[in-house]
Amino acid sequence: MPVSAIRAEGVSMDFGSLRVLHGINVDVSEGEVVAVLGPSGSGKSTLLRCLSWLTPPTEGAVYLQGERLGVAVAPDGRQSRLSAAKLARQRSRIGMVFQSFNLWPHLTVLGNITEGPVQVLGLRPGEARERAMTILETVGLAAKASAYPATLSGGQQQRVAIARALAMQPELLLFDEPTSSLDPELVGEVLDVIELLAARRTTMVVVTHEIAFASEAATRVIFMDGGRIVEDTLPATFFRDPAEERSRRFLERTLRRYAQFGSHRSAEG
């Protein structure tokens, strides 16, 4: 039986009187690459923020490797907020990549990547630097180790952000629209890195608008609409024969746009 990397049970999220997630159940196994698709406002990003506990859900539970996230459960079943230190330790096991990169501008590329390993994992600076350089080679940015983020392109910054997450050797990676704020010609270089990780069977949940990525690199597609999971299936099934009318309409709209403007992938991608 596959091991559950992250699991959401009955996760609902309210912003004021607006319910943006309706009792989401989802279980991601180790090695799965899940693409989360859906129109804007369908709750994809909110789901990701609930999975990382950056936005604790109004209702429901999240389990990281079977361990309750963000909530301490006493032997008598009473629940309380998990201590900040324990929550921080849980979060360090989840890598998150944001739409707007969120690199720390006052630290160099190397500083961004070694911060977590040194401060959280307790690695010696030398060890952390070695680990960081190996990862920078992987994402093709070893030459930029001593550069400050502001001097990098968006695509480079996002690759550094991925490297920063990888340096923590997380159990899974969450991507929140990692290419949505990039110029079209820079999307390819970031997707290449994510596809490389997918090929290595890194457990990933990727919220994205990149249909081509979802159909080629994902092992599973979740389609969301109106704060609900409408479809949860294999990419091949989803793209060839979507079960739901809403998925069909979404695909038609998106594919029409693709036909007009082409994929965001760079020419050589």
């Binding site: 330790r89 890598g95 501008p105 006052h106 400050y148 997450a165």
Partner: protein, 222 residues
Amino acid sequence: MDWSDIIPYLPDLARGFLKSIEIALLSAATALVTALLLTLASATGNAIVRAIVAAYTEIILGLPILVLLYVIYFVLPKFGVRFDETTAGVLTLTLYYSPYLAEAIRGAVAAVPVGQVEAARMIGLGELSILARIVVPQALALMIPSATGILIGLVKDTAILSVISVEEFAYVTKQVVSHTYAPFETWTLVAAVYWVTLALFETLMRGLERRLSRFRPKVEFH
């Protein structure tokens, strides 16, 4: 015009100058600490604490510094709270300038994007580490320009303490003038010293800002 008349009084003027610097440094330090406490107090969730901070800020912002000084030095003793001149002066400068500095700190902290804090949380950094290693290093650089302006105001306002006979630079100068009858030369000299001191301070802070924000690309206009 005869500059030689004031030469015998240079040691007195120097003493006054040093006293002003001492008061300014002390007041700046206590005002910064108070400002930090005000910022932290208004950042906590407690509504009562925040209301107190807001009321304090409103009262201070609505008073001329001279009036605040007189209240502390002349009114409080009627209620049994008595300070010597220097303490009353430092207290006045601290109370008067801490809300402005608190606002500079608050603005600088708020200018650090929340996404950077979220990224730090996902790496597993604790809240204190996030403050110390992500927020403060950036906020420091961001607050320097506004804080410099506020602190220059504080240094200049040390001269107001002369009205309660604190023996600072302006007070001593007045005394010297009453002996030398050379107001032109004496005040010209003193004005130049104030100006040079503040210009040096400003240059120092600008250098510090450049150092602290060397990661940030400069805006260039063509």
